[in-house]
Amino acid sequence: MVLALFLSGGCYPLEAKSANWEYYEPRTEHGSTLSACSYSLIAAQIGKVDWAYQYFMKTATIDLTGEGKEYVGTLYIGGTHPAANGGAWMSAVLGIVWHHRAAIIPSPLLRACRPLDAGDASTRFPTDKSCASGFPAESLTVQVVGTPASAPVCSVAGVPQPLPQTGELRILFGTGTPGMIREMRAAIFDLDGVIVDTAKYHYLAWKRLANQSGFDFNEADNERLKGVSRVVEILLDRCPACR
């Protein structure tokens, strides 16, 4: 829902985004690695810059902290997360920078951010937020050059984050259109649970087969099958004599 509000952002008022973000945020497990960047992007839009930063950090460090979900049941789903890494770029540039004109300063631990000062930044922000395309039409260029001296205004969970105090700071977020799809050419759909709910039929078919073979197969067993290809092994677990 929150991701959809970002993708079709021009179609909904801030109040709707705000209401949905606040409703879903405490109720969401954020199990998908794309959850953090979605929540960061909408948080930036609705003025919750601290939250935007917190979720930006989560998506930016996903492959550094090793805290991501690695297993669903016995199924390994770990590895690197290039899409979430792209989400970090979007959270920074299209979220925090775009909406708050704040720069995220890549100190060694990516800890700090502060607003851009008029003197040290040149900005050109996308202007087209039309519902029709849903995506920015113009390029985004942000360049920050200088030594950061002012106090940080960004904090994480209420704790101000320190800025690097020495050295020249130069961040160039790149030119050209932000890395988003301008025109949809193809759409890929999953079937189960997206177009139609066939899960109940899978369950009934497995249950019937199990019952015919003389053992039980309940809803808890069925949960273990979801999205899994090793169905037969799980069934055999339920029927040790079948091995």
Binding site: A186, I188, D190
Partner: protein, 96 residues
């Protein structure tokens, strides 16, 4: 065992109809199809074409990539790579 289960599945599928399409899906597929977006179904299970037929929405799909066409399941790039109009060289597709 899997074949036996599939026989049971086919029985249920034979009784499916358009009323089982989830809300809004038919309209969305229709609108994408209408403006020239290629609709692709990426689904490992081999009954997908039959299910789409029963639901009456086969004609809205340009390509069905199912278990008959790819060996590796999602998130292998072999599914998107077979969908038309995506335009990425296979080497640039990564798992999410």
């Amino acid at each position: 065992m899997a074949a036996q289960k599939n026989d049971g599945m086919l029985e249920y599928i034979q009784n499916m109809d358009a009323s089982e399409i989830l809300p809004g899906v038919a309209e969305y597929l229709q609108s994408l199809h209408g403006r020239g977006v290629k609709n692709c179904l990426g689904q490992r299970l081999q009954n997908s074409p039959l299910i789409l037929n029963r639901l009456g929405i086969s004609s809205l799909f340009d390509v069905i990539v199912d278990g008959n066409k790819v060996v590796q399941a999602k998130p292998s790039p072999s599914v998107p790579a077979r969908c038309p109009g995506i335009g990425y060289p296979a080497g640039q597709l990564h798992r999410i």
